[in-house]
Symmetry: none
Subunit: 230 residues, 4 copies
DNA sequence: AATGAATGAGTTTTCATTCAT
DNA sequence: AATGAATGAAAACTCATTCAT
């Protein structure tokens, strides 16, 4: 695994310390960017000499890989619950948005890095992560297709393009969301659920109600979700 | 303006050469990121020794500043035509989306850098650009307010938040758009116009028609725009 | 070629300086060994900052490669005159020993490095040099075969093994020869010519004279060589 | 002796483990060279953490010192049997060559290191070993003198120089000999005995026979040695 | 005996920048 | 306008060694 230098060198002990160090690295990567962060910066944050970091990691890139890999896997794990959800497309899309916003804001540091710094990884390592990333997108794409089949989403939309656009919209939240800011993740998710649903819904999906009613309905669904989840 | 800035740095001839060099720098900044790009990389791309670059620029950051400043000013200049446009909010929002997508894709390199590398600028220089950036956002915000006043946009929406979300959505296009790809900028703008309008429209804005009809209407408007422009 | 960093970076100027620096590196490599020599050591010897060395070379190994490659090629060039020599095997073997000792002592630094540090080169670069090294050995081997065919060298000897042994003997001179020491290169070559000839000569090669006479004869040949050369 | 040295460093048990570790170090020193070998390399080979090596040794140099010291002492011990041998110079020189080749090939790793890495030892420690090294050389030198006195070796030869040359020749075997290669140590020793004897023999030493007969005689002597030894 | 964390000094290499020519 | 040499600081990484457990 990533956290062992040579298999003889580390076998188990103090994964907490390792976690702490990776966490510190992540925080700095997010603030300054990966390329602009030096090993010295990380060492300073941990209160250790820079050479000592190589106890935990074989290269600076290892930090990045660990952070991105863990974030990607965790994100996929979260979204799988939506993928497995038995419900109509509208409900599932709302759930997707909520799960996504919750994860992105709840793991803001790691997820931001995942979005911005993937290019810094070696092609090899990027490749290992790509599959998970695609599986993630696939979840949304499947929901859009389901909605088209059910007639509740616009039959004319280009599902692949729309997936890209909507995920782009959702991911952009990492650029400005800050904990303790004016909106809670749930509030943001509610708004996003509205914009996302509005973007794909069909006339039949609106079901005679107006679009404002749709937005209100989305809130009820979210509330249900939140309730269900408590 | 580039011209004026440069005249401080150098009197000598060949502004074309200067343009060429800044263009080369921009291309590499976009590909590798500012921090990961070395002066040597730029020199190699131009076929010059790295020391010679300092005839055109006083520091590496100067390249970045020129690129971002020019892109920001040009973007604002483009969007001002929309700001000054006398029309209903729906028409103007469609026009905004089109202008934005056209610019972002047409100046992909510079605009991507503007979005991703602003943090690398000194606070001083970042400050000089921020005003233009905010003016840009203000244009969309004003349109949303106008739409609310006209009753065609959802009265309940948080205009500031929605501006952030929608611009985030539009800017994300720079992450995946490539010239010669499957969609033309105009096609993309049409789709974006649909998602953006759907996100903000009110029941009265829908005007009794369904949401699918709204999306179709947006296309007509775009076509008008395109026609007007030809 | 080796001495240029990027083709744009160095085109010609001051090969003298480059030579001087490589020479300094060679001297230190011989004294301390390649692995134990730091770039700092070289920089100190040249009176330059260590970073500045990378103006001339892309890596520490580049120094080693240049030194070994040049030494190997020069040695081969020298020995080719013996290879092309039209004469009996005895004369040619004496000439070989003289050329070899002259080169090894005359290029003591570079040739010592060539013998001791080849392993530090990347397999790739080692491969590029190996051919020249083998061509060198081949020259002696051919002379031994010629001598066997002429009947002047022992028909029973294993030519390949004897080549290895005799070259090993000759190369060992680099371990203890020092300029200004008690023996001149020519004196050493005379002694070596005796040991080498004695090792391979056949009874017919001795031609009825004793072995001491052979050793004396070898001196005459050398003297002729030396004379011819003056 | 190893045993005694070690007892200063550690009281504890398991001298076998110590031997194993020093052996592993030696093997790596020979392959990569002392300077290029890290403590980590040795630890990896033994399957231990590098810090743990300091239970056996006080410094990296200790490994080298132990290896070289043991090899030098053992070599001297072996050659002493030849030094004490009561026989003619020719017989004793043949015996020397055999003992030397047998030792060098039989302790290839340690003896190679002894030859190549002596310079890495501190002057102090090098000094402690030098005496043994010189005693070793002295054995051959004495034989050459004995041969001159007996008239069987060339009276005109420079004994000191010849000792250096012939030992250089013999030691070079460590550069290419590999166990399981095409020649057994005994076969090599036979060939070396021929070249060494030929290099020093006088006309009277040849005793009217030709030089080829000398080489054959040398084989008989070796055979006798081998027989005597079985 | 061994671990695993850490040190501190060192390694090779990179890089933005300067400057005489 | 450009070169090529050099600077000086910092980068990533290595390594012998120490030490509490």
């Amino acid at each position: 695994m990533t956290q062992s230098r040579r298999s003889q060198t580390r076998r188990g002990p103090d994964p907490e310390r390792y976690h702490e160090i990776v966490g510190a690295a992540a925080e700095i990567f997010r603030q300054k960017g990966y390329s602009a962060t030096s090993i010295q910066d990380i060492a300073d944050a941990v209160g250790i000499l820079k050479g000592s970091l190589y106890h935990y990691v074989r290269s600076k890139e290892d930090f990045l890989y660990t952070i991105i890999k863990d974030a990607t896997e965790a994100a996929l794990r979260e979204i799988q619950t939506v993928a497995r959800m038995e419900a109509g497309a509208v409900h599932r899309l709302v759930a997707f948005v909520h799960a996504h916003v919750r994860f992105a804001t709840g793991h803001l540091t790691a997820y931001s890095i995942r979005l911005r710094e993937m290019r810094r990884l070696s092609p090899d390592r990027r490749g290992k992560i790509r599959a998970d990333g695609e599986a993630y997108n696939k979840v949304m794409q499947d929901i859009l297709v389901q909605g088209q089949e059910q007639g509740v989403f616009d039959a004319g939309m280009d599902v692949e393009l729309m997936t890209t656009i909507l995920l782009g919209q959702l991911n952009a939240v990492t650029r400005w969301y800050r904990e303790g800011g004016p909106y809670t993740p749930e509030q943001l998710a509610d708004v996003f659920a509205g914009t996302v649903l509005s973007a794909v819904v069909s006339d039949r999906g609106l079901g005679g109600e107006g679009i404002e009613e749709l937005r209100r309905r989305v809130l009820t669904i979210s509330a249900g979700k939140a309730a269900a989840r408590t």
